[in-house]
Symmetry: C2
Subunit: 429 residues, 2 copies
């Protein structure tokens, strides 16, 4: 029998309780142990009772858990940073192993947590912190561990992927899609951490740390959300054979790490283009396995519980074997973070220009001087405006060079407006 404590009885806590009951027989068979929730820490006891927990299982003080030597694993499902951090550090200090789904915490305080865990010889597992049910972290840390990773391209936020999918499939506006996501419970009352990309940025910083063995944190990630995307952007992407996805990317080139979250054009033939609605995926490039994509539900009660209980079962085996203290996220290298303008990619450049002769030649010449080579151009007059819209897909180019070219273009009197989307490149990724 392994006894665990659960901090927080919200949505995921409910899934954890249900899954432990539902699959009790097989879980016991696979781990050689029954897993029992001895205590839950929850301010509102009714929530715990609603999950079928008894009065003596519910406590309101962390000390009741810390001082209980029978409890070997503490499962943190409260979210947030400060109090969760305090609880986890105290629990590790008391010799408890930790399972957490808390991406905010791992992204921001990972270094301190993993260091203390190593010192105290306990495991810290966090599979559920990125991609919900999707076996991303375990796959990278174990099954694919013979590889050198070069690129992780993720769709790591279900809310924004739902919004973008509906804008694409149904032609909805951003605000209608957001409203629908809110009504369905996918978006929170304050959706800013989703739609501004922060949630995805936290997750990609965790995957970057794993992939490159060098600590990446939220502040290392360049972050752009989906709030500026208009219906006509989606229409254009569709016309050109792309869809728009909020990509969370971690790349290593020349020992430097590039981390960003930004909306991007994804070619319809790319496996990530078929990741729709609230589903998440991580597309991984590495030297031996080459291309791997892992796809599934990135959130939700039972999917998150799947990863949480998976972690609990792993720790159970380590406890039985006397081998705890090896699972965590050790970063044994220190690599520089590149500015996002170091990115080399294809881009979709959109210009509003005066509808007059020689403009195209002028634009092409400015781009050419900066080594930005053009794959295709579509020019179309904008009715009754005396202007035309120019859509240019570039070959892979340095974003720095492209940005310099855009500054130069903006200074030309015939250029009225300019903006870019990154295009995911089928050849390089």
């Amino acid at each position: 029998m392994i006894k665990i404590a659960v901090l927080g009885c919200g949505t995921v806590g409910g899934g954890v309780c249900q899954l432990l009951i539902q699959n009790a027989h097989d879980i016991a068979k696979r781990t050689d142990k029954c897993i029992e929730i001895k205590k839950v820490l929850e301010r509102n006891p009714q929530r715990a009772y609603d999950l079928g927990l008894k009065e003596d299982q519910v406590c309101s003080s962390l000390d009741d858990i810390l001082n209980d030597d029978e409890i070997k694993i503490v499962v943190e499902l409260m979210g947030g940073i400060d109090f969760a951090y305090e609880c986890i550090m105290k629990a590790i200090d008391a010799g408890k192993n930790i399972v957490t789904a808390n991406k905010d915490l791992i992204s921001v305080k990972g270094e301190e947590i993993f260091a203390l865990a190593k010192e105290k010889n306990v495991d810290v597992c966090y599979e559920a912190s990125v991609g919900g049910a999707i076996p991303i972290i375990g796959a990278m840390q174990n099954i694919l561990c013979a590889n050198t990773f070069t690129d992780i391209v993720g769709i790591l936020n279900g809310t924004t992927n739902y919004i973008l999918s509906k804008m694409y499939e149904k032609g909805w506006s951003y605000s209608k899609a957001l409203q629908e996501a809110t009504d369905l419970g996918y978006a929170e009352a304050d959706p800013s951490s989703d739609v501004e990309g922060t949630d995805a940025a936290r997750k990609i910083s965790i995957l970057g740390s794993i992939a490159f063995n060098s600590r990446c944190t939220l502040s290392d990630v360049y972050c752009e959300g989906i709030t500026r995307i208009e219906e006509r952007d989606i229409v254009l992407a569709k016309k050109l054979g792309y869809t728009i996805k909020l990509l969370a990317v971690a790349k290593e080139r020349n020992n430097k790490i590039l981390l960003f979250v930004r909306p991007a054009f994804v070619p319809l033939a790319h496996p990530l283009a078929s990741v729709n609605d609230v589903f998440n995926a991580a597309f991984i490039k590495c030297d031996a396995a080459d291309e791997i994509m892992l796809y599934g539900r990135g959130a939700g009660s039972m999917p998150t519980a799947s990863s949480v209980i998976g972690d609990v079962m792993t720790i159970c085996q380590n406890i039985a074997n006397g081998t705890t203290g090896k699972l965590g996220l050790e970063c044994y290298k220190v690599k520089e973070i590149s500015p996002v303008t170091d990115l080399r990619s294809s881009f979709c450049l959109r210009l509003r220009v005066a509808d007059q002769p020689n403009v195209l030649a002028g634009v092409a010449s400015v781009l050419g001087k900066k080594d930005v080579s053009i794959e295709s151009i579509i020019q179309s007059p904008v009715k009754n405006s005396g202007t035309a819209s120019l859509t240019i897909i570039t070959h892979p180019a340095s974003e720095q060079d492209l940005q310099t070219a855009i500054e130069e273009l903006k200074a030309c009197e015939y250029v009225k407006k300019a903006n870019i989307y990154m295009c995911l490149d089928m050849e390089t990724m």
Copy 2:
């Protein structure tokens, strides 16, 4: 330092040697050990020398490996059944841990191998035996281990997926696509085990054993290949919004297991539809994680080596921890195998019928009596033949009922020909 032996210096053996050198530093860091190939068993020493191995590393007798106490892990990469089985059983008996990429062997002789390994307290790892580089087996056995699995739907053979992708994308005939696959080295001189579905059947029997904890072997799998697929089948699928894939399926319903390999219509919106060329994928349904898809390269030197070395690294840690003997494939349940006609699915039924009044009503009536409900019908006359083709997509129905209905239809004088394709159902899978 962990010393290993490799049996067979073919394509994958070359990848293993290269990967151990290429990522030596990180492999040592992650396992706390250097991994060294002490011996390779290879009849043609030149193949070993070509991989950079020295004379004293090459042996032609298995005994040189069995009697070497420094060798802790034997990596079997020869393929085939009889000699590989003999080598593996002897190696286990001599206390060596095993890594193998041999699906034929695991599918047919798994029970004996895992039983002896348990007795001898050694690990047997076989991640590379299904889906090459794709982290399927480890994900199901570890990260997703809190789940009850209900369905595995795989595209598990790269050669046939390449052929079907090219028939779909380029309109090639089966024989042209097969020729191209042979020219590119994807298909072997005798492609029968690929195109007849046996290779995929072996792999799905392994995944079925893992998913349902009950031993499934090759002989449990109903198997139909891709040789009967014609260009007009592909054209029809495209017209109806499907692609055709060779699906390897393992399902559990009511404690019974259904295993089959057959070509099927896959809706274009399903994630499996975008798995093209030589790529493989496993689409997994389970109770907590819900839907998971794992995608990547199913074969090739380096991708297979990725999984092989991943397994070697796992065993290295178990040796260091003194915890070998727990990795294998224990099947602690015995479940019945259902006949394939127990399948419930949507189907595409194609009939060639006499072009005369009331035929449609007659067909609908025969289907209706067998509880086969119709989703859509397309009827088109076949020029100058006095016949028409009827294409019917059914709602989910019992294959048994549908087959009985087809027998009845074939007895009608107005029905000239009838055949069916299974349709992957977006709602149930």
